[in-house]
């Protein structure tokens, strides 16, 4: 039983950065912008988050540093893709290449340093309940925050007027513009929200997942988050399912190595990436009757005054 509990705990922990980053990207894409720079924003968030926490000794300030770093990165993207109408795919790639270098530069001084990771919640009584206690009431703050975040995003997108306008920008920017909505400004906010989430998701890795910083520690999680948005068909509810499913695949891979399964560790490590491909293929195949993606996703919009 303890093993089951340990696995569930580690699945939640592995899923959280995916869920946070994918939530941000979901909002960005719902506004019609495809930002492929999630990996770049995450990795800079990881370096800045660790730097912040190491310098101040506070996990909270570290997380804040990660969020700000992600937002600044996303502003570069917004300036390029929205301000200058540059191809979004190419700009996103540039953001990732730039981010990997920048994160190495920022993090160089912190390799080998350690911090005390984010503490896990402990409520006497509740956390002690067997089986569900630690799973429900014993996580770190990021896990609860990620769940609150996706609920808030769902409520925003489907229950508020602002959310409706944001979705309208993603489905038909010409009409949204004609109705007088500031499409580019709305998209800029959506991109910045995505950046903040990616930065926080990156910061989660050195602040709560492992207590140290390694260059390249995001290891493609930003790209998996992008795939998760496709997996979710751009819907918050399915995003939660997808994120936990992928967290489970990641953990399965780690535990299988521990159990001494006779498969080389590299093949097990390849599982999350292979799973991503298979999921993408199955989903795209199932969705033959027209795509559910926001109709204006990834298209350039230059308002005529």
């Amino acid at each position: 039983m303890e093993l089951v509990e340990a696995i569930i705990l580690s699945v939640l922990s592995a899923s959280t950065p995916l869920l946070i980053a994918a939530t941000g990207e979901l909002v960005t894409e719902r506004s019609g912008v495809l930002n492929l720079g999630v990996e770049g924003m995450m990795i800079v968030g990881a370096a800045c988050g660790f730097a912040g926490a190491w310098l101040t000794g506070s996990i909270f300030i570290g997380a804040l540093f990660g969020i700000i770093a992600g937002m600044l990165m996303s502003l570069i993207f917004a300036l390029m893709a929205l301000g200058l109408a540059v191809n979004q795919v190419a700009t996103g790639l540039a953001l990732t290449i730039f981010g990997i270098g920048l994160s190495g530069l920022i993090g160089a001084g912190f390799v080998g340093e350690r911090i005390a990771p984010a503490i896990h919640l402990y409520i006497p009584g509740l956390t002690d309940i067997p089986l569900i206690g630690r799973v429900l009431f014993g996580q770190d703050a990021f896990v609860y925050f990620s769940i609150a975040l996706i609920i808030a995003v769902w409520w925003f997108l489907y229950r508020t007027r602002a959310g409706l306008i944001l979705r309208a920008c993603g489905d038909n920017h010409v009409s949204a513009h004609a109705l007088g909505y500031p499409v580019l400004r709305i998209r800029t906010f959506a991109v910045m929200f995505g950046g903040a989430c990616a930065g926080l998701a990156g910061a989660y890795l050195p602040l709560a997942y492992t207590p140290f910083f390694v260059p390249g520690m995001t290891a493609g999680r930003g790209w998996i988050a992008l795939a998760l948005v496709v997996f979710s068909s751009w819907r918050p509810g399915r995003l939660v399912v997808g994120a936990y499913l992928f967290g489970a695949v990641t953990i399965l891979q780690l535990h299988a190595q521990g159990w001494g399964v006779g498969i080389p560790s590299q093949f097990m490590s390849a599982l999350p990436y292979l799973a991503t491909i298979i999921v993408l293929v199955l989903l795209s195949r199932a969705r033959t009757g027209g795509s559910t993606a926001p109709a204006a996703l990834g298209t350039v919009f230059v308002p005529d005054r």
Binding site: L36, I76, M80, G83, L84, A85, V86, N87, V89, A90, T91, L93, A94, L95, I97, F98, G99, I100, G101, L102, G104, L105, A108, A219, G220, W223, L226, A227, V230, P264, Q266, F267, S269, A270, Y273, L274, T276, I277, L280, V281, L282, L283, S284, R285, R287, S291, V302, R305
Partner: protein
């Protein structure tokens, strides 16, 4: 005050030619500021980066050696991008090509095999790269799965495959437990062009690839189809061009070139298979392709320029203790500026001041 883009009625050809130059200029200005922030003398740093590698024969050869894989991969990628197919997994195709070609080298090690070994390695590497690139292409054409994400996921898979082979079945028993194969036999090694130098046959192959691409794009129907499908998909449909077929074709060619570059790198400058055979060639080649304006000759020049930044980065690290990651930051910034300047080709930038706008509206 805000920036407004105005669509040009015609593409500006003058700007198309000078925009990469503007981008490089802006990048150097930005780098100067970055060096100053890092507390290094910007002039000395720029000298170490861009001038020092050009002043001795050894470094010049190194630039050609580094440019070889970049140019080969970027030529393939440019075909994909022209056809509006987003292959960004060239790094994985490079690694798989290196692995497949190395298989022959490892199997024939010490067997006195003939001169067929190296050509066979090239063919197998190109085939493996092409097949690897076909996975995302077919997933895209058959199932509509995003080729961007699938080709990228396969980079991580290729990396792990390489890691497994050199740590497991192919590890050199006399290699002091280092994850590497034994050094390749002379028949499995790319010949050098200058005795005792570093320049090798691969650079000639890269030049041939550039020439072939220039002919394909400029002189053949297929090249025309590729450009039309990318630039005007609707017109291409009316013209009866099959976009899916072109996705498959450009991905296969691009994968084959990346795979070939992979085996040339391993059987040439490195001499054996080991992890970390690529300092991100597959990703840097994306920058090369854009900086070269998706044009074969442009890519050749852009490839040499980015090779210069790799060598310059190493020299700056040795001479001035500037971290190696600065090179990647530099490359990322360069790509931003290249893309931003490209925007000038299609649009006029105008700064609009709200009060003047009102005045104009009244008039």
């Amino acid at each position: 005050m805000r920036l407004v883009l105005e669509k040009r009625t015609e593409r500006s050809h003058a700007i198309a030619l000078i925009s990469p130059m503007i981008a490089i200029g802006l990048t150097i200005v930005t780098m100067t500021i970055l060096f100053a922030i890092l507390g290094k003398n910007p002039l000395l740093a720029l000298q170490a980066y861009f001038i020092a590698p050009l002043t001795d024969g050894y470094s010049l050869q190194e630039i050609a050696v580094k440019a070889t894989p970049l140019v080969m991969i970027a030529i393939g990628l440019s075909l994909c991008y022209l056809a509006n197919a987003w292959n960004i997994g060239a790094e994985g195709q490079f690694l798989v090509g290196a692995v497949a070609g190395s298989w022959i080298a490892v199997k024939t090690q010490g067997t006195d095999a003939g001169a067929w070994v190296l050509p066979a390695m090239f063919v197998l590497a190109a085939a493996a790269g092409a097949l690897y690139a076909l996975i995302p292409a077919i997933c895209k054409v058959r199932f509509g799965a995003s080729e961007i994400l699938t080709s990228l996921m396969l980079v991580y898979v290729a990396d792990l495959l390489l890691d497994y082979l050199v740590r497991g079945p192919w590890r050199d028993p006399n290699g002091f437990n280092f994850p590497t194969t034994a050094d390749f036999d002379p028949v499995a090694t790319v010949p050098l062009l200058i005795e005792g130098g570093r320049l090798h046959l691969g650079s000639i192959i890269a030049l041939l690839v550039v020439a072939a691409a220039a002919i394909l794009l400029g002189r053949t129907i297929k090249g025309f189809e590729i450009r039309v499908v990318g630039a005007a998909p609707r017109a291409a449909r009316f013209g009866g061009f099959n976009a899916n077929q072109l996705i498959i074709l450009t991905f296969a060619v691009s994968g084959a070139l990346a795979g070939l570059a992979g085996i040339i790198e391993v059987a040439g400058p490195i001499g054996h298979l080991q992890p970390g055979i690529s300092p991100g060639y597959g990703f840097t080649a994306i920058i090369v392709a854009f900086l070269g304006r998706l044009n074969p000759l442009g890519i050749l020049i852009a490839g040499l320029f980015l090779a210069l930044t790799f060598i310059g980065g190493e020299q700056a690290q040795i001479a001035m203790k500037i971290p190696l990651d600065v090179t990647k930051v530099f490359q990322g910034i360069l790509l931003f500026y290249v893309l931003a300047c490209d925007s000038l080709i299609l649009y006029r930038f105008k700064l609009v001041f709200p009060n003047r706008q009102v005045a104009r509206g009244a008039g």
